[in-house]
């Protein structure tokens, strides 16, 4: 592995080196600076009073006793915000229903206005001198609720008599369609064989290790605000809050996301707490600090997934896929979260081709409101749902056709690129048979029958399952996103500031909350400039320092953020060449730059990087008539396409029918991520993604009581997160086809593991048990019932 402080070795580019992460030292030694570590002068503490009911009208709120409690500074409710004309939280993606009407956008208040709509819904913000005083005072607030029936069951949400929002009587946000219905219907009419499956993509709670936190301060000296917040995209947070909710100029608000302990999507969104704290900080005149307790995180972090679907695959008699028809109901929760509308539509239906040349696809998606926490993007965001559906139905189709599951896939693989799918995306490059073959080799598929027999001799069932996933990430071309309903662009920004003495600070709109950008981005810049990796500093997460970027999610940072940085670096090199040309008395066009040196082509006249950087800032001998001093460039990059990582996963399991416990005997993951900058970090992302996907498939289940709407799985006592002992050692490999449309040739790797692993696991388990379906999470009892022929 490489070390940050090694000098640049021209024979060993930092690209492709497993450079140790510079972030790790501070994380492992307790020296990181998380939002909760921030304590400001005059600090007060905030506690949110939350609804104990899933659905209720608020008849009255009595604050008298609470306001008189020791240490209380102020208490804010929806009434104060309404008086101040504070707006509701916006949704960033407009989806239209099949009939052309725009999606319903009921109000999403910062603090409850007359009604609460899920357990945990914010009712009041209590601000006090100490956290304990705020908590004690919160218990003294008396809220008179009139309980209403709770809408919990997803499938029945549009037909129950109760409306979550008074202005959306059927609880339906939109009823969307995508693809070619007529072509699909025609194909089914002549199909030799149809495989049909119904699925639930189970609801998940994100559980980033750091709970959400924020500290908001109003600065009286210049009438500005500073918000520290555990967030993945500070500029987006600021824009949404300023333009749509608080009506503040962005130039007067600074959002800082310091070290953030994991996000997985849950920290993308503009949350009510962030806004309430910012608004209240001016009224109170002192900074207000809030850190969620884990129970609050369970209740109010945006949840993930939560689809109910049926799918049908039409084939000819040889197993060629003719058409795919999908119908999905997706849960939005009680309120539309920032990207919620796009997750089960644009990020889902567009991936239903999978790796296959299925010519006709049609998907209908109905999104509904329920009295549960808002649901939004969570690691994979739409692509795990699509992949689960496609890879489960393909595996079942193989069984129905009595074909080998690898063979039916190979028969239908896309083999020529670029390939325009019938659901809107054009895959630029790929090589699907390559990773499937490699996965089969690593998994020793040929030896499986013998292993299965050996398990049977011990009285155990054994199964093998495949998942060949593809995903679209590196989001996104802004014009395409806009045409599809996005209300924001999806470019990225990078600024490269060369200092006089030659070190470099890079300001990136990407945000690192576990991805290791401080290391990988430094590798990219160092390689391009021919300077030691340790001489490159990466700054992110502060709207006061970094140009406007859209932040980190959707596996976009290296592909989009990295490219913006590369373009800025290239501008620096171009200017450096002009400076060098002047110093070397040569024509600009005769200057080459390599390994940190500028030289006159065809000669050995050269000048080092450090000389050029110093000259830029001490321009005594400088072409001031033609060139400005300084060496500081920025670039904004809007990608021309998504990127398409893909791979083949194979899972092998052994089942103990007596208890239903499953042992994962092996898990093989072969991915195509394009070019790889830091193999160690990529492998770490794959490990984490697979663990998260296996968590969904094996044990994670977010459950609300169907009558009361209480969150039954409100803590780790009931919500099962995978531990190291549950997860096997993986066999990981890559077969890479570089991305065709960014200079680094990278595709992104952060979500792939969570996308490909659930179907691989359930395919293996259904194979072992000889059943058509097993619901996720496949708990021991579910497996036991299937293994012993008992009703589910």
């Amino acid at each position: 592995m490489g070390n940050m402080n090694e000098p640049f070795d021209p024979s060993k580019s930092p690209i492709g080196q497993s450079v140790r992460r510079r972030e790790d030292r501070r994380f492992i030694t307790g020296n990181a600076n998380y939002t909760d570590d921030v304590v400001l002068q005059g600090q007060t503490f905030g506690v949110f009073l939350r609804s104990p009911h899933a659905h209720a009208r608020i008849r009255s709120i009595d604050l008298a006793a609470a306001k008189a409690a020791p240490g209380v500074v102020d208490i804010i409710t929806g009434a104060e915000l309404a008086d101040a004309k504070v707006g509701g939280l916006p949704c960033g993606w407009l989806i239209h229903s099949k009939d052309g009407t725009p999606m319903k956008e009921p109000a999403h208040p910062v603090l409850a206005q007359g009604k609460v709509r899920h357990v945990g819904d914010q009712v009041a913000l209590i601000v006090a001198e100490t956290l304990l005083q705020a908590k004690d005072a919160a218990e003294l607030v008396v809220v008179d609720y009139e309980e209403l029936p709770a809408v919990i069951d997803l499938s029945a949400a549009d037909s129950t008599g109760t409306s979550v929002h008074d202005d959306v009587s059927d609880n339906t946000c939109y009823d969307w369609g995508h693809g070619d219905k007529a072509a699909v219907d025609a194909a089914f009419a002549k199909a030799a064989k149809v495989t049909k499956l119904s699925f639930v993509n189970n609801r998940l709670i994100p559980n980033a290790i750091e709970p959400r936190a924020a500290n908001a301060a109003y600065n009286r000296s210049d009438e500005s605000y500073t918000l520290y917040v555990a967030n993945q995209n500070p500029h987006v947070e600021r824009l949404l809050m300023c333009a749509f909710v608080l009506g503040l100029p962005e130039s007067k608000v600074r959002v800082i996301a310091p070290d953030v302990g994991g996000g997985f999507g849950s920290k993308i969104f503009l949350y009510p707490e962030d806004v309430a704290l910012v608004w209240a900080s001016k009224r109170v005149g002192r900074p207000i600090k809030w850190t969620a307790e884990r129970s609050e995180s369970f209740l109010t972090d945006a949840h993930g997934r939560d689809h109910v679907s049926t799918a049908e695959l039409a084939m000819d008699q040889d197993g060629n896929f003719l058409a795919l028809r999908v119908k999905t109901i997706a849960n939005m929760g009680a309120y539309l979260s920032t990207f919620a509308s796009a997750v089960p539509t644009i990020l889902y239906a567009t991936l239903l081709a999978g790796q296959y040349k299925t010519p006709a696809i049609y998907a209908e998606v109905k999104a509904v409101f329920t009295n549960t926490a808002p649901v939004d993007a969570y690691r994979g965001a739409g692509r795990p749902e699509a992949t689960y559906l496609v890879e489960r139905i393909v595996e079942q189709a193989a069984r129905d056709m009595k074909m080998d599951p690898a063979e039916i896939r190979k028969k239908n693989f896309i083999t020529t690129f670029p390939y325009a799918t019938p659901v809107g995306l054009t895959y630029d490059v790929g090589g699907y048979a390559a990773h499937l073959d490699k996965a089969m080799e690593l998994a020793d598929v040929k030896g499986f029958p013998a292993r299965k027999a050996a398990s049977a001799a011990k009285g155990k069932k054994r199964g093998l399952g495949y998942a060949c996933y593809i995903e679209a990430c590196g989001i996104a071309p802004s014009n395409i996103a806009g045409a599809l309903g996005a209300r924001a662009g999806l470019f990225e920004a990078g600024e490269v500031r060369v200092h006089p003495t030659g070190t470099v600070t890079v300001f990136t709109g990407s945000h690192s909350h576990g991805q290791g950008h401080e290391t990988t981005f430094a590798q990219v810049v160092a390689a391009r400039l021919g300077i030691p990796v340790g001489n490159v500093e990466i700054v992110h997460g502060d709207t006061g320092r970094v140009p406007f970027g859209m932040g980190t999610y959707g596996s976009r940072s290296l592909a989009v953020g990295g490219t913006a940085i590369v373009k800025a670096v290239d501008k620096v090199i171009a200017k450096g060449k002009k400076i060098a040309a002047h110093l070397l008395e040569a024509a600009d066009s005769d200057i080459e730059f390599e390994n940190g040196e500028f030289k006159v082509a065809g000669t050995d006249k050269k000048i080092a990087w450090g000389n050029v950087s110093l000259t830029a800032y001490v321009p005594h001998n400088f072409p001031l008539d033609k060139l400005e001093p300084g060496l500081n460039e920025n670039a904004f990059y809007d990608p021309t396409n998504f990127t398409y990582p893909a791979g083949s996963y194979i899972c092998e399991v052994e089942v103990d029918s007596d208890t239903g416990k499953v042992k994962i005997e092996q898990f093989v993951a072969v991915d195509d991520f394009g070019n790889i900058v830091n193999p160690m970090i990529v492998e770490g992302q794959v490990h984490g993604g697979i663990a998260q996907g296996l968590g969904q498939a094996m044990m994670e289940a977010c459950a609300y009581d169907p009558e009361s709407g209480q969150l039954v799985t409100g803590s780790y006592m009931d919500y099962a997160m995978p531990r190291a002992i549950d997860i096997p050692s993986f066999k990981i490999a890559t077969t890479n086809t570089p991305c065709s449309h960014n200079p680094l040739g990278v595709k992104g790797c952060g979500e792939a593991g969570a996308i490909g692993s659930p179907p691989a696991y359930i395919n293996a388990l259904t194979d072992a048990l000889g059943v058509v379906d097993l619901a996720m999470p496949a708990t021991p009892e579910r497996v036991w019932r299937a293994a012993n022929g008992l009703p589910a």
């Binding site: 908590k135 129970s295 208890t659 459950a703 009931d718 919500y719």
Partner: protein
Amino acid sequence: MYAFEYQRPTSRDAAKSAAAGADTRYLAGGQSLIQAMRLRLSQSERLVDLGAIADLKAIKADGNGVTIGAMATHASVASNADVKRIAPAIAELAGGIGDPMVRNMGTIGGSIANADPAACYPAGVLAFNATIHTDRRTIAADDFFTGLWETALQPGELITAIAFPAAQKAAYVKYKQQASRFALIGVCVAQTAGGVRVGVTGAKGHAFRATEIENALAKSFTPEAAKAVKMPTTDINADLHGSAEYRAAMIGVIASRAVAAALAR
């Protein structure tokens, strides 16, 4: 957590007088109580920490058995030479509770006084027919666990030690609930002087003896005999993690694995 007064006496008598007075709790390892207090589900005006009372931690071989002080941590029980020699199933039971941090703090006295329906120790106490010694009397295992988080202890009564008779052919098998890692079903099987005893935790509101399995094992102390017993679903817990039908079925399965482990000694 609500504010409270904290005392840490160094003798049993000092502990008793510190506890006299309303609204006081004894604090043992804190692995359940402190959690409940942090969630504001428990509140006491005064907490009397027993951790400084040295003679409550002692573990000693005692005639035909081993007596474990109420404040002995799970880690100390798991590693104690006398326990491993005289009642190895109890050492293994203690070694499977929670994780290393929990085992360094949690105590046997705290565990049985709390009587969580999924705690491990109650199954072991029942299977071994242990005797619970308090500052006032001795209580037989069969009389101790009376209901959901309920024991025979009177208000203010302090457990001082638990005496386990020796039992060689004994084992505890814990089938862990995937989220909490408490016992979904935990079964301790022991061949004692008085015959075979089977203690089950996780299945009902409190640990109990599976007399159906005891009777089957009395005839034939084999895994197959235990597995063949179909436990009724009456009073069996049902929740997200297992239906009553599943839990009932697992009692026999886990008991058979405990018998196999006991025979393998």
